[in-house]
Symmetry: C2
Subunit: 495 residues, 2 copies
């Protein structure tokens, strides 16, 4: 049976796919094998690049350059998680020898993290490759040792099926356990997936509305499961008066902002949507000039076009809002829109400006540069966000601003822009609610693997039952904590 279904998945089909995933014994595979499979998947995506790109072009309206870059990103992510699996410190192997003199006495304890179970992955609209069928959630779940069932995003169904078919073929050809990957389609299938007793965790990238609804379902199960939802984010930016005190400074920030919030139609969860700018620096006219050549962009789906038009209209109808730049959107192309509001107006009704607008729209909040306390008060009303950015002069210390924005964001950026999320051990893509449903975690970077792991401790276990990661003599040469001390084998440190 193929696990790739070409219409809304029925309940029976879904049950069979999930059962096959649970029965695949993927959790018993070793880290080295999983790394090979991740590399094989990366190779295959790279090899089919042209064909995949062509399908994605038609379904998403994203540019060839953007999609080509995203495919490279996806390939790199798969390889990155192969490296994380191989390196092995993510299992947190911990070995405590027995000590009867302690109170309570300590037996021999050996602890590690192990795969959690079948992971449901809800693909995103705006990253048809990198946060979809073989995106970050799938790559990190596979690296962890978890079978994956993907709920395809309806914005790119043909691409989803094509990538799923590729995944099935590559996994089968390279010897991965049958059933370890499946694809389902349709709203009902998504709901059934979150509620299925054999599903152990959910990774989700999408809207706050849908994410919250699915989160509620995950919590309400007879046996609740973790729901890792990366939802919306306003991504506030603060430009300091000093940064905007020179024409060069103004030009640099304005051109950077113009590029960031309009990039690929402004369809990033890291798009800067709220920018605190000092009054009377000439920033707004420079920004408007930087936007004059930016073309409109057809958004990912008709629903997004409608939502963008409606969101723009609501802002433009407000008496306290001024238009800084309006590129003049048409029915099938969203053009840049910048509006401005005073700090007082923002503080009076912050919820009117804290809603995320998918598309090339950003809101400037004009703050009086002589009153830093007023800015501080405004920043305290911000909700959780994936990112927050500060534009400051090179020699300007910004500890107060940094502290204020650290409170609400998972990643704080200095003299840079939030769009473009690097793949790294030290990346953080997450943040306090409503940016995510699970602020302890990241959906990008090495730590994303932890979402799909659970601990086990073996007490006084005979050598014959211990996983190799916990065996005497550290035969796999991974970093371990032994009697309280982190030990990094030389081979690992040199790797």
């Amino acid at each position: 049976m193929s696990a790739v279904i070409h219409a809304d998945t029925t309940g029976d089909e879904l049950a069979a796919i999930v059962a096959a995933a649970a029965a695949s014994e993927f959790s018993l595979t070793d880290r080295a094998s999983r790394a090979l499979w991740l590399h094989a998947l990366a190779d295959a995506v790279d090899a089919d690049r042209a064909e995949l790109l062509a399908i994605a072009r038609i379904e998403t309206h994203l540019s060839e350059g953007r999609l080509d870059g995203e495919i490279t990103r996806t390939v790199n992510q798969l390889r990155f998680f192969a490296g994380v699996a191989i390196e092995g410190s993510y299992v947190e192997a911990t070995i405590d020898s027995a000590d009867a003199t302690l109170l309570p006495p300590r037996p021999s304890l050996r602890r590690m993290l192990r795969p959690l179970g079948v992971v449901a992955v809800f693909a995103a609209s705006n990253f048809p490759f990198a946060f979809s069928v073989l995106g970050n959630d799938t790559a990190s779940a596979f690296a962890a040792g978890c079978p994956v069932v993907v709920k395809a995003h309806p914005g790119h169904p043909e691409l989803s099926r094509r990538v799923a078919a590729l995944a099935e073929r590559v996994l089968a050809d390279s010897g991965a356990p049958a059933g370890c990957f499946g694809l389902v389609e349709g709203i009902d299938a998504g709901v059934a997936l979150v509620q299925h007793p054999l599903v152990s965790a959910v990774g989700f990238t999408g809207s706050t509305r849908v994410g919250r609804a699915l989160f509620d379902l995950a919590c309400a199960r007879p046996a609740p499961i973790p729901f890792y939802g990366e939802l919306g984010s306003i991504n506030p930016v603060v430009v300091t008066p000093t940064a905007a005190s020179t024409p060069d400074g103004v030009a640099a920030v304005a051109s950077g902002l113009a590029a960031s919030f309009t990039r690929d139609g402004g369809q990033y969860c890291t798009k800067p949507g709220l920018v605190f700018v000092p009054v009377e620096t000439g920033f707004e006219s420079v920004l408007a000039a930087a936007l004059s050549g930016v073309p409109g962009h057809r958004l990912l789906t008709d629903g997004m076009e409608t939502a963008f038009a409606r969101g723009s209209e609501v802002l433009l109808e407000r008496d306290d809002v001024e238009v800084v730049f309006d590129g003049g959107s048409s029915a099938d192309a969203a053009s840049p829109l910048v509006v401005a509001v005073s700090l007082d107006a923002f503080v009076a009704e912050p919820e009117a400006f804290l809603e995320e607008h998918f598309g090339p729209l950003t809101v400037l909040v004009r703050y009086p540069d002589a009153d830093p306390a007023a800015l501080g008060a405004a920043l305290r009303v911000l909700d959780g966000s994936l990112t927050a950015s500060i534009h400051h002069a090179p020699d300007e210390d910004v500890p107060t601003l940094a502290a204020a924005l650290s409170r609400i964001a998972g990643r704080v950026i200095f003299n840079g822009w939030p769009t473009g999320v690097a793949i790294a051990w030290g990346q953080q893509h997450g943040g306090p609610w409503p940016a995510t449903t699970a602020s302890l975690h990241s959906s990008v970077g090495a730590s994303a693997i932890r979402r799909f792991l659970q601990p086990i401790a073996y007490q006084d276990a005979p050598a014959s039952v211990l996983p190799a990661e916990l065996a005497d003599g550290n035969p796999l040469g991974i970093p371990r904590r032994e009697d309280g001390v982190l030990v990094v084998p030389a081979a690992t440190a040199d790797r």
Copy 2:
């Protein structure tokens, strides 16, 4: 204002206590200071041992020896988490240097875990010290840098107030931020605590019923928060035919089981409540003999006495249950009760035997030693548990049993008993639902600190805003991951 209230806490009082905790800026304290405060708390508990023990004796009916040991445990836990804070690897400091050749390009990224916010701790009935006001949850939250508001358990109110007063005094005397600790009492206060917007996480030890209700509240908040509930557990034990094939083997397992399930009245969440024994080994009569001298024990609360009597009655009324030993409980003393059921009867209606009974009661499941497949099928119906144990012969390999029990338990024990949870880096006290609400975590051992942390990444940050843990040159000498490689300073490794 004292944060210690001597009656049910009112809504206004609770709001003031939580606001003071949130305003305490405890998250800005350094790890070394928090370690000193934890040691000061440990010193004070140790110094007041006799007085605290006397109060606990009256309120809990636990023995002097047990309570004395528990105070030592509590002191050791506080010191252990001081060590975890000092060692510093728990912050997972990770430093990636910029690399523009990658796709997407990598900026400078520095990531660490930081305190999550105000933690609500729901104290347990059965550990008036070690899982109560200054127990594991409080110790790990303090170590993490989180202020704590404890909901006292009504089973030991005077002790809770006394320990809270000690904590307030010690923290104030040693210079901890005012407001970083508070105590509340009453059901309404508990509900309000879970729902308070300034509370960021909940640690709970208690029943499945109450834990599930509070978990549901935590999930249903406008901004959901993590709820770490350590709930009930049946803690299955399997005795292999080989282990029970000699009189010495039978005697050792029977006496160990008798001691474990009756220890301190059987009031442990790790009590072995379901024991799979091979038929016709003589085990049951040896177990009954081992129990004949075990006195009754007054349970912690009147409610528990009632629940124990009712639970015993329900089992004894079943046609498929045989009594192996009945010590004859009275209204104010629970005596050991052992019943037995056939494997077929267990499999026919497992839910009748998977409910946790607080008190000295355990259920034997007689399995035919000639049919290991039948035992395997029975183990597959087990729910999640904190622990699972295997008693086997010293030279007997048990990979199949170990795999079956690993599936459902957070800690798998070989030739030992689950009661008595050591304090260690490699400890795991948690497990799949319904053992806990959050199977990724542990409430005992070093990793318990992670429940109260969230990540932050600094992108291209100036040195002036970076926490010392992420500074160039590693001035604090903690283990860090630098450009993908774990680096453990020699001073740490030697510590």
